[in-house]
């Protein structure tokens, strides 16, 4: 279907361009956002470093793996799916969503493209200075032990890239569920607040998941949010051995498929509901 692909591509690039412009216009905010990321990264490393220094037993991860985990998390924090595209929210509050249903496009993928833009544009922009700081500046100012290390090997790097691609899809698949929930909730602020509490903890953004108590590990292991940070970050540092990497990426992918099917089903139901009740 070339027409669908071009339509999606066009809507993607249009939204990316609009986002970039908005972000660049608010230059002070963009710079401040980067500074904030770096600040948080440093604080996290100091806190975790203090715990590692005081550790009595051997922790489940090396500190180098922790450093990679923290910086990748700070740099890619914008990908966490806890909020949703405010323009799509606008569609629901204004009732314009009925028009969306009339478009000769597959609504799920149309929104998926928009969501992809909403998620990736700010992250792409803010990633660059964060990475520069974490790889180049930290060693220069005499803190090489805090610097983001290179991937454990070339193969780890490639596997990370693959895993990360699935992470982006996973993030979009979750974000879009928040959007779809508005067919029923109209306003997703409550759900966003809830996600804001859940996602950072269960993805590993607050504390790397392996550091949580051992009895929680079986549960943490299988929940979908782990695919957002924990899997790609630990593949990067080699904390997940290469032999396991394929299996872990497959785990991420299975969740992507499940969530996409779920979202797809929900949109179909919403469409029926909208047709029956007349919006």
């Amino acid at each position: 279907m070339p027409s669908l692909t071009t339509a999606l591509l066009r809507s993607y690039t249009a939204v990316v361009a609009a986002r970039f412009r908005l972000l660049l216009q608010y230059r002070a905010a963009a710079l401040a956002g980067v500074a904030t990321q770096i600040f948080w990264g440093c604080i996290k490393l100091m806190v975790l470093g203090a715990f590692y220094a005081a550790a009595v037993t051997t922790p489940p991860m090396t500190f180098t793996a922790i450093v990679a985990y923290v910086w990748l998390g700070q740099v890619l924090i914008g990908l966490l799916p806890w909020n949703h595209d405010p323009e799509l929210q606008e569609l629901f509050t204004s009732g314009g969503v009925a028009y969306e249903l009339l478009r000769p496009l597959d609504l799920y993928w149309f929104w998926f493209a928009r969501t992809l833009a909403f998620r990736t544009a700010p992250t792409l922009l803010r990633m660059v200075p964060g990475i520069i700081f974490a790889t180049l500046i930290l060693p220069l100012i005499g803190l090489p032990e805090w610097a983001l290390p290179a991937p454990a090997s070339m193969t780890h790097g490639l596997m990370f890239a693959l895993s990360f691609t699935v992470t982006v899809m996973l993030s979009c698949a979750i974000t879009i569920l928040i959007t779809i929930s508005m067919f029923w909730l109209i306003e997703a602020r409550g759900l966003s607040t809830f996600m804001y509490g859940v996602v950072p903890v269960f993805s590993g953004m607050i504390v790397p998941l392996p550091l949580f108590p051992d009895w929680m590990q079986p549960f943490l292991q299988y929940q979908p949010f782990r695919g957002l940070c924990d899997v790609p970050f630990r593949i990067y540092s080699g904390d997940i051995p290469l032999s396991m990497a394929g299996q872990e990426i497959a785990f991420q992918f299975v969740w992507v498929v499940i969530l996409i099917l779920f979202g797809y089903g929900l949109i179909a139901r919403a469409r029926v509901r909208l047709v029956v009740q007349g919006g």
């Binding site: 361009a17 970039f20 412009r21 660049l24 216009q25 230059r27 963009a30 710079l31």
Partner: protein, 326 residues
């Protein structure tokens, strides 16, 4: 000594410019260009106690800037300004206690509160003694017919009701001067009339000095003996409406009603302002009697009326004339 004295006031703003386009936004990260805007240029006027003055001009002419300077919100770049012998921005608190301000499109009432509670709160803010406050409040409630609105939360009021409540709110502390910024904007005809009637009464019976900013020239015509016309930061005119007409509104409008539809000769055609079936409105610049003769002898006239051109047209003519001069 006039109550409001403005002498040679100028105000210049510096505005940051953004470059258009993608690269422009990137460039904005590093440096920004600024450009100066003269909102007011050497404006002088004075207003005596009890006057009701209309302040008109196109959007961006500097009307709001003037009001803000007079209320002590803004400091002018140069020039002198005194209200009741005080420099507004230097003795801001004393000054604002003796003025009332209504910004037509924004409310000063608390959105979620019943009107009466906003009033009680304003009493505390302005520290009006209780007995005095009750007297003024009841009088305002009666004059503006607010009795049935007092217990309704402001967000549930219609615009017309809200504006009336807002005007009362600006007068609870019995200011001697009232600045009204677009008080009738967006109001329906009935509300406009009642607001106008109130302003007139306030000026006549209570001798409150009123400076009225508006786009609605009906307000001006109904209320003001004197108008200040501002354009592009400069004062174009300070005088009565009659003077305005003399200068820019000579000529008459001739409204004609025909017995039956008739074609109009080309030399008359170009004077038509409006036409609907048998009603025609002509604008006649000079020699009105000859024009009327022509019309009466050429067309089946049923009725004929000669009027002043409406004030909008006079003002439009003036703006046009002044723009050409610049």
């Amino acid at each position: 000594m006039p109550q409001i004295l403005v002498e040679g006031i100028s105000k210049t703003f510096r505005v940051a410019e953004r470059n258009p386009g993608f690269l422009g936004a990137f460039g904005g990260l590093f440096h920004r260009r600024h450009r100066s805007i003269d909102a007011l240029r050497d404006v002088s006027f004075s207003i005596d106690e009890g006057e009701l003055v209309g302040y008109i001009g196109p959007n961006g002419a500097g009307k709001s800037t003037t009001i803000k300077i007079l209320s002590g919100i803004l400091v002018p770049s140069s020039g002198r300004c005194e209200v009741d012998g005080r420099v507004p921005w230097k003795e801001r608190r004393e000054h604002v206690a003796s003025i009332g301000v209504v910004f037509g499109q924004r409310t000063q009432l608390w959105w979620d509160l019943p009107v009466i509670e906003s009033y009680d709160l304003l009493r505390d803010i302005y520290r009006v003694p209780h007995s005095r406050y009750e007297h003024t409040r009841d009088e305002l409630i009666e004059m503006l017919d607010l009795g049935s609105l007092l217990d309704i939360p402001v967000r549930q009021l219609s615009l017309g009701q809200r504006v009336r409540c807002d005007i009362a709110a600006a007068l609870l502390h019995e200011p001697s001067i009232l600045f009204l910024d677009e008080p009738t904007i967006g109001l329906d005809a009935v509300s406009q009339l009642s607001v106008r009637a109130f302003i007139k009464q306030l000026s006549r019976d209570h001798k409150v000095t009123v400076l009225l900013t508006t786009h609605n020239l009906d307000d001006i015509e109904a209320l003001c003996d004197r108008i200040l016309v501002l354009s592009d930061g400069q004062l174009l005119m300070d005088g009565s409406i009659a003077e305005l007409r003399d200068r820019y509104g000579d000529g008459r409008y001739v409204a004609v009603e025909l017995e039956s539809f008739a074609a109009v000769a080309p030399e008359h055609e170009e004077r038509i302002v409006e036409r609907s079936d048998s009603h025609i409105l002509f604008s006649v610049a000079s020699d009105v009697p000859k024009f009327i003769d022509d019309v009466l002898s050429n067309y089946p006239v049923k009725d004929l009326l000669v009027t002043h051109p409406p004030i909008e047209r006079v003002v439009a003519t003036m703006y046009q004339a002044e723009r050409i001069e610049h």
